[in-house]
């Protein structure tokens, strides 16, 4: 009889490996992203079993909540055409296989030569304190002992923010933007007019047919009408 945590370790690992294989092999890239989300969930479960509670929750918040959505957007943006992709397979297969073989050899060498240094435990900068949960332990060292790394991470986030805006943001010509100042400063007199209308009189007779000529330049017109819809 295996213990419950061992059972869940094997369960999560099995689903993780199966969905990771499905990410690589599935033909539809959207299905691949969905399998990736399943893999993230199971990895969070494994972190939880290992006692890394905070990492598990961050994995769910950041990876499942945000990065997976970003991957979906990228997949949608790439416009993957399978017919076009298949054309190059014959031509590039030898080169790809050679690069893959070199990488596999390197990884194999790393795995074979792996050994844990005997003094590794004593070299830890901040060993895990006993009787304290993960998030508390992290919070006690991250903002004081590792303050430089913490501030550098804020700079990295700033660079990512600026980079994303510089790369993807541009002003588009011919689109209408909301001008809040203009929307707020116009008065009722600009939009509404109260008329005394006789019973049975037509619009032609009274001369209130719209649109009436305006004094303002023509390009201002759509913005005004848009704002009128808001009121």
């Amino acid at each position: 009889m295996i213990s419950a945590s061992a059972f869940f370790f094997y369960l999560f690992s099995a689903i993780l490996l199966a969905s990771a294989a499905a990410v690589v092999t599935s033909r539809n890239p959207v299905h691949a992203v969905l399998f990736l989300i399943l893999a993230f969930f199971n990895a969070a479960g494994l972190f939880l079993l290992a006692g890394a509670e905070f990492l598990a929750m961050i994995l769910l918040i950041v990876y499942v909540g945000a990065v997976a959505v970003l991957f979906l957007f990228v997949v949608m943006m790439l416009d993957v055409d399978f017919v076009q992709l298949r054309e190059g397979v014959q031509k590039y297969a030898p080169v790809g296989a050679a690069v893959g073989a070199v990488l596999f050899g390197e990884l194999w060498a790393v795995v074979l030569g792996w050994q844990v240094s005997p003094g590794a435990d004593s070299l830890q900068g901040s060993p895990t304190p006993a009787n304290m949960d993960n998030t508390h332990a992290l919070g006690q060292v991250l903002y004081t002992d590792y303050v430089y790394l913490f501030q550098v991470s804020s700079l990295i986030l700033l660079v990512a923010m600026i980079g994303a805006i510089v790369l993807t943001h541009r002003r588009r010509e011919g689109t209408r933007r909301q001008n809040i100042t203009m929307q707020q400063t116009r008065s009722v007199r600009d939009t509404l007019e109260t008329l005394q209308v006789r019973m049975g009189a037509g619009v032609q007779e009274l001369g209130i047919l719209r649109p009436r000529p305006r004094a303002e330049p023509a390009e201002e017109e759509p913005r005004h009408e848009h704002a009128a819809g808001d009121h």
Partner: protein, 121 residues
């Protein structure tokens, strides 16, 4: 460690219930309902007319910008959680180190506000 894991028992119960209900719905309709598919029945339905094209069409890059800005502030919030629960022990230094962190990201926020990256046109 087992004490922590015991707190997640309700999550496990929820997972089991969700799997049970989902499996029962899909499996039940597969077992009980009559399945007589043919080409017209299983084709994509688009309000009566033939589908114009593939559903997998290109997205505007602006969605990507919104998503990446969301991720950055998501990470910022992730840094706030351990800070908030250990604020009592890390003192004023920890408090102001987080304020500096937030200040740097506020600079980025003002930048994106002024560039109009948050507006949808």
């Amino acid at each position: 460690m087992h004490l922590v894991l015991a707190n997640y028992f309700p999550v496990l119960v929820f997972l089991a219930i969700a799997l049970g209900i989902g499996g029962a719905m899909v499996g039940g309709s597969m077992l009980v309902a009559r399945q007589m598919p043919y080409a017209e029945k299983v084709s994509a339905y688009e309000c009566g007319f033939e589908a114009f094209g593939d559903a997998r069409r290109r997205f505007d890059v602006r969605f990507y910008l919104v998503a990446i800005l969301f991720i950055i502030f998501d990470l910022e919030v992730a840094f706030l959680f351990p800070w908030a629960i250990s604020l009592g022990r890390i003192g004023l230094f920890g408090f102001f180190s987080m304020l500096a962190f937030l200040g740097v990201l506020t600079v980025g926020f003002i930048y994106e506000w002024c560039k109009g990256a948050l507006e949808w046109e």
